[in-house]
Amino acid sequence: MDKTRLYYKLSSFSKGFLFFLLVLCILIPVVFPFLWMLDASFKTQKDITSIPPRFLISRTMENYRRVFEEQNFLRFFFNSAVVGVSATLISLALGLPAAYSIARYRQETYRFTILVARLMPGISLLLPWYLMFSRLELIDTFIALILSHILIGLPIVVWTMSSYFQSVPLEIEESALVDGVTRQRIFVNIVLPISTPGIVTATTLSFLFSWNNFMFSQVLSMENTKTLPLAVYNFVSYAEVDWGAVMAASIAIITPAIILTMIFQQYVVKGLTVGALKG
């Protein structure tokens, strides 16, 4: 009797241990590059390039000082934030009513148009935009950058929210309609407040994708409106790469994205998987 119990205990323990090992096999490759970047961002150039590599040896803030003081990174943070926040807000203003109408009145053609916008490679628009904006003398202005980034945010907002609005029960709206409330009032006062989780998802994703976008800034922005990804990229186009500073800059650019993700984890997961589950 005791022997079998011991056997079960051992087998469930070893199963648990095996599972733990499997999870480690997933986690280590996922997390290691981040820890390695973080470690490198506190190292001197000599320590980074030494072979064999040594970890957790130096703790210099010199790399971060160079990034923020000499390269004036706060300005690029500001530029990226202005573009990301404005583009996201405008995307919401344009996209929420559109998504509602698409969901309620089954406007499949509009939905398809938005799908095409979502899947369109940025490069297909970059050339005509460049020609358009240079003719309007809008290159290196926030207007051009924000307009281009709305085309990142708007499809995300409409795509996420139209499937969200479809899940909002019609009964609430119908009883308000019977009471003579206008449809736009129902949308603003009833539908939007109960759709907060969906709106949080759309807002977070829209901002994240704008924050990470490199291609549009590459062509549409220069010194005045340079965004973070472009600033980080410019670091490595020098002849000799200052790896410590590059790693510090990389950590600086991904930290806000990671913090946002940590706060809104559930929403981000929903937003990224919604396309696959519901479309």
């Binding site: 997390v31 390695w36 344009l94 509009y110 799908l115 291609m215 981000v268």
Partner: protein, 292 residues
Amino acid sequence: MLDSRFVDRHIRILFPLPALLFIAIMMVFPILYTFSLSFTTWNLASGMPPRFVGLNTYIEVLKEPRFWAAMGRTFYFTFLAVGCETILGMIWALILNREFFGKEGIKLLLLLPLVSTPVAIGIAWVLFYEPTIGLANWALKSLGLMPLKWIADQNTVIPSLVLVDIWQWTPMMTLIFLAGLASLSPEPYESARVDGANGWQIFWHITVPMVVPIILTGIVLRSIDAFKTYDIIYTMTNGGPGFASETLNIYAYNLSFNYFRFGHAAVVLFFLFLIVLSFSFLVNRLKDRGHG
């Protein structure tokens, strides 16, 4: 001010109108403009205005081996990356598909690669792959293997870039599959267990048929993104060495902003657009089937 009755009555036009106008100006018009450019030859460097040449530019592009090489490479990159991500994502999802302490924390960690700025990720991998000081070769040497040149070698550059894509996007596949597995209804499992089916039979006859639509949608969505991969390739190799990692995206960028051959770039963009449009129809079809 608009009369509120009027808005109420015409809401199905007025609500989507601003968004559609924006799409028309910022997407439809630019695409039509690009399309019209594709019938011209226009080289900014020559200082000449665009000249109408009919289908001539199309013929030139279709005769250009660099175009076909880029096209093949783009598909190769996409198939290799998405194939590995699907298999690996499936395995990861099956491992993680149970309740255990710390599951939410693990999901959070899985999100990190895909919310991180690709430019920063690409640069970190450049250092990782660095032949003399990079960790990758140090690890190979420690294992007694031959060091590689990774992204500096024409033969290994695409697989090396694919590895970065796999690192970044396998978590996405895992999360999609996990959400799919969580949405499965428990009844078929219960009746199968009553009928005495074993674990493998249950997986093969019940789980697989139910998750296939989710897997397919995941594959299509991921393929489109992989097809469009730009940031990672541009920052890591800029299409090099030589043209060994030049995908359609990079080729179109180079034609537009390095050679200023706008007519030729427009033709390449036209083909890119056609491919993406057919992908979009595919997504739409899959979605309809999911609803039906």
